[in-house]
């Protein structure tokens, strides 16, 4: 882990120092930490990519386990859409194999809670309607690695997020083909077909309910960044409720139901709840709409003095980003950045750039985005599982200018 030089985040620094002195003892290990050898792809004992994602670019990824990996902060690139070989992997169930999926054109999607319940094959859906949409796909725990109480789970920093171009069918078209909703639905409940049959659905089925209002913009996607949706990202069909955290974008989607109640499975009822530290339960809010967030991707460490282009990405969940400000002094002063590159709609992220004139020295650079009248807070919202972090301070960078 890299040590932060400035004192902008004393709590985190204190933690790092504390854990180092008791290495090997319980205090250091209330989680599965990133080992440096995993994180750094250039280390002599760096782990390779597991078989199901051999096609990814190793040097763009930080490996947390054989099942979870995030994109290096700088590997997001600056072309709005994240290259597919750089996109993070976080799958609750094992990725389905080609053999398990069978003939992709015959993949089945069951639709319930509509006037005429139906089962469609993928090829039927592909001939029923089509749309393309860019959305930010972000794991609920992206930024967990900044929480000083070290919540269990992968210690994501910024890389469990990507901006993706999806092609598929609008959910509204599917509803229309089924004669409309049967009435009384409060949620869209999407079910994955990826749970191994020896597990208990109540505990392991990935089934997520989101408010029925998502039907306006949601889609079922079979293509990602111009290629057939890879199995590792939920192919051949994935539910995309734009602006909602990754978990709601159900992979290997086999069923869509319009329901009066939320699903009763563990992944809906207990997991992904934003509760205070030390508390848990289904009374706490679910990881649904993503809050406004941004982070700088360049420069990461150092720069030459003079004109320095500070750039990054910003998104507003279900709301359009209205502005981004950048600070070069740890948040004392803020100046408006310029939104650049194509605007791919409110669910995509925007790139921003701010040209600063910097003399040699140390700087703490931070970004703060606004969307729908809300700005990123300075601090993280403390919560038990380390979800939904959008505080700007933890996402700031220390750079040296020479």
């Amino acid at each position: 882990m890299k040590k932060r030089k400035s004192n902008i985040n004393p709590s985190r620094r204190k933690f790092l120092t504390g854990s180092a002195t008791v290495a090997g003892v319980a205090a250091a290990s209330a989680l599965v930490p990133i080992k440096v050898s995993y994180a750094n792809h250039t280390a002599s004992d760096a782990k390779g990519l597991p078989g199901f994602i051999k096609w990814k670019k190793r040097s763009s990824l930080i490996i947390h386990s054989d099942k979870t990996m995030e994109t290096h902060r700088e590997a997001i690139g600056s072309s709005v859409i994240t290259p597919i070989r750089h996109i993070y992997i976080r799958n609750n169930m094992p990725t389905m194999t080609d053999a398990q999926i069978g003939k992709k054109s015959q993949w089945k999607l069951k639709v319930e809670g509509v006037k005429n319940p139906k089962t469609f094959t993928l090829s039927q859906l592909q001939n029923l309607g089509r749309t393309t949409m860019a959305t930010v796909l972000q794991c609920s725990g992206n930024g967990r690695g900044f929480f000083p109480h070290k919540p269990r789970g992968s210690q994501w920093k910024t890389g469990a997020a990507a901006c993706v171009m999806w092609t598929g069918i609008p959910l509204s078209t599917v509803i229309k083909a089924c004669g409309g909703l049967s009435g009384g639905a409060k949620y869209v409940t999407a079910t994955g077909s990826d749970m191994p049959s020896n597990l208990d659905p109540k505990k392991a089925l990935v089934e997520r309910s989101v408010p029925v209002k998502v039907k306006k913009d949601a889609m079922l996607a079979w293509e990602m960044n111009g290629v057939a949706l890879p199995n590792a990202h939920g192919g051949p069909l994935r539910f995309i409720p734009p602006g909602y955290f990754g978990i709601n974008n159900v992979k290997h989607c086999g069923k869509i139901a319009f329901t009066k109640d939320q699903s009763q499975v563990k992944y809906m009822k207990k997991s992904y709840r934003i509760s205070p530290i030390g508390k848990k339960g289904s009374q706490y809010p679910s990881c649904w709409e993503m809050p406004v967030k941004s982070w700088i991707t360049s420069p990461m460490k150092r720069s030459s003095s003079g004109n320095v282009s500070i750039s990054g990405v910003a998104f507003g969940g279900t709301r359009k980003v209205s502005s981004v400000s950048v600070s070069t002094d740890g948040g004392k002063n803020w100046k408006k950045a310029k939104l650049i590159g194509p605007d791919l709609g409110k669910f995509a992220w925007r790139q921003f750039v701010f040209n600063a004139k910097l003399k040699p020295g140390k700087y703490n650079i931070a970004s703060k985005a606004s969307a729908g009248g809300k700005s990123q807070p300075k601090l993280r919202m403390e919560n038990r599982r380390g979800y939904a972090h959008n505080g700007w301070r933890d996402h700031s960078l220390n750079i040296s200018v020479s």
């Binding site: 319980a26 290990s29 989680l31 386990s65 099942k67 609750n92 789970g153 597990l199 392991a204 997991s271």
Partner: protein
């Protein structure tokens, strides 16, 4: 040193290595049977090839890490401690077993 001392020492060493082997066997039994870790995790030493959770041979967790996650659960992983699925002693045994054998 007296001959007696060495006798006692030899007995102690034999006894404790037998105890360690016994604990290891207990841990493996818990791993494969009562706790059913093998259903979801790969660990060569236990002969398991589960593919739901992380590969333990790759992860090589510490005793404390295993204990924490076995006690509290995570996602599809049950909270064996909180939900009373394993006793605290069993959690200790299986945690030590996993930490010792992962990656071997």
């Amino acid at each position: 040193m007296s001959a007696n001392f060495y006798k006692i020492l030899t007995i102690l060493v034999l006894f404790s290595s037998a105890a360690i082997a016994d604990e290891n066997a207990k841990g493996m039994k818990l791993f494969n049977e009562k706790a059913m870790c093998a259903t979801c995790h790969t660990m060569k030493a236990a002969g398991s090839k589960g593919n739901v959770g992380p590969n333990l041979d790759t992860l090589k967790p510490t005793v404390a890490q295993v204990k924490d996650i076995v006690t509290h659960g995570l996602g599809a992983m049950p909270a064996f401690g909180e939900d009373g699925l394993l006793t605290p002693e069993e959690i200790d045994t299986v945690s030590i077993y996993v930490a010792k054998n992962a990656g071997k």
